[in-house]
Amino acid sequence: MHQAALLGGMVQDAPHYGWALQPVPHDWATMAEAVQNHVKSLNWGHRVQLQDRKVTYFNIKASFVDAHTVCGVSKGGKETLLSAEHIIIATGGRPRYPTHIEGALEYGITSDDLFWLKESPGKTLVVGASYVALECAGFLTGLGLDTTVMIRSIPLRGFDQQMSSLVTEYMASQGTRFLRGCTPSRVQRLPDGQLQVTWEDPSSGKEDTGTFNTVLWAIGRIPETRSLNLEKAGVHTSPTSQKILVDALETTSVPHIYAIGDVAEGRPELTPTAIMAGKLLAQRLCGQSSDVMDYENVPTTVFTPLEYGCVGLSEEEAVARHGEEHVEVYHAYYKPLEFTVAERDASQCYIKMVCLRKPPQLVLGLHFLGPNAGEVTQGFALGIKCGASYAQVMRTVGIHPTCAEEVAKLRISKRSGLDPTVTGC
């Protein structure tokens, strides 16, 4: 859906390049069907793979009876008891509903529902500041829908905050409305079917209301552990997050029970990370290797309208870990070539590289805000994994014309106080 929104932007740019395109309407149903069909084809692909590798697949809902026994219930209600030498829990997480807010459950939806809507969500209020909230609000705006984001405190908690505010700045420039510092208190349905949301605005000290067609809760995710009966197996969870406590080998409090992915405490909530951890665990359990998952320097990208890719430490984390005097941050604003002819505003297109100050200046973190951030960041993630230094980055020749070359061209440090904005080609 992010791609669908980006295409809308390209349609707008097209006349600058000579294409005689009129503004085109967007049909949600066509896009939704294509997305849904794609997801179903992925489900099929997984089933085929399991079959190929002779994995026995039980389509049942499982819970623990004891540390070695699991009971599964099929859709029809039939129970099956399974026991195993090793048990791996990978039940992931689910979007959290703010159950204390009146009307939240009955009238709001989550990201799980958004992609399965057959009709356009219309005027939408997205509550939350997570990457899910911003990505959804981003593409909804791009598809031409009136979109508002309600943020209680800061955007993208856990991510570099300078980059996070550039992300929301860009979204605001594209028409997404932001209600900062506000918290919803109730959701009601009006006679015409629309939803009325009431919220507290601490800056005015008053209550305010708004009318929307859809309210999307994107306030965080909770692990799928409630129905597992973990106590029966003796598996401990974190009292705050409810996630399963694990060690570096993914082992839980019970030696033969393991947990990977979003359900485990302290892990990046990223699919490729869970997949790799799972593969390494499987190899260890079969005695094929003793390799342990490395959770450091895992790259990721937030697919907001202007994409944000990052790998390694945020500037705040680097300073907290090493001290400001030991950290050097190189940065630059740049203008993507595709923005020039189309006369797009590139004010938020920005890169920063956080390094150790001591030569050869090990790269601690890279942050890239711009088009195709995922593609750009993936390549540099390998360099950082290999322990790249700023000295080596300086010796890397750029590919012209790309946005990625701007990473190799970083020369201005924050400490120098020099102007990092665009200067010529």
Binding site: Q36, N37, K40, S41, W44, R47, V48, Q51
Partner: protein
């Protein structure tokens, strides 16, 4: 209904028996598969044109067991059956089968993957 919808092994066995010595074409498809939707009207047209060929369709989501038994990986997949006669008909066997508890499972004489309607028609004409 020129293309018979088949839900399970029993229905498939009944269909194959009723076919006698006619060529049987079974399409494994899915509602979410674009190429399947494209080739659907063409298969229907073929079922009307080739009256001495029996056509059937299996939805891999509705009939997961059948899809598994016939090792369907790619969609659409067309499997062709013909009562064993002699040498020439076993032109290309893609996969061997093991017997399940209820008896010997019917083997296809040819498997065709993908939504190339022309190739499909050519093969049907060759085997029918």
């Amino acid at each position: 209904m020129m293309v018979q919808i088949i839900k399970d092994m029993d229905e498939l066995k009944t269909f194959l028996k009723a076919a006698g010595s006619k060529l049987v074409v079974v399409e494994f498809s899915a509602k979410w598969c674009g190429p399947c939707q494209k080739i659907c009207p063409l298969v229907h047209a073929m079922s009307l044109q080739y009256r001495n060929v029996m056509f059937a369709n299996v939805d891999v989501d509705d009939s997961r067991d059948l899809a598994q038994i016939y090792h369907v990986k790619v969609i659409p997949t067309f499997q062709m059956f013909k009562k064993a006669q002699k040498v020439t008909l076993f032109s290309r066997l893609k996969r061997a089968f093991c017997c399940n508890g209820s008896g010997i499972v019917s083997k296809p004489i040819f498997e065709f993957c993908g939504a190339d309607a022309q190739k499909l028609e050519a093969k049907i004409r060759e085997l029918m």
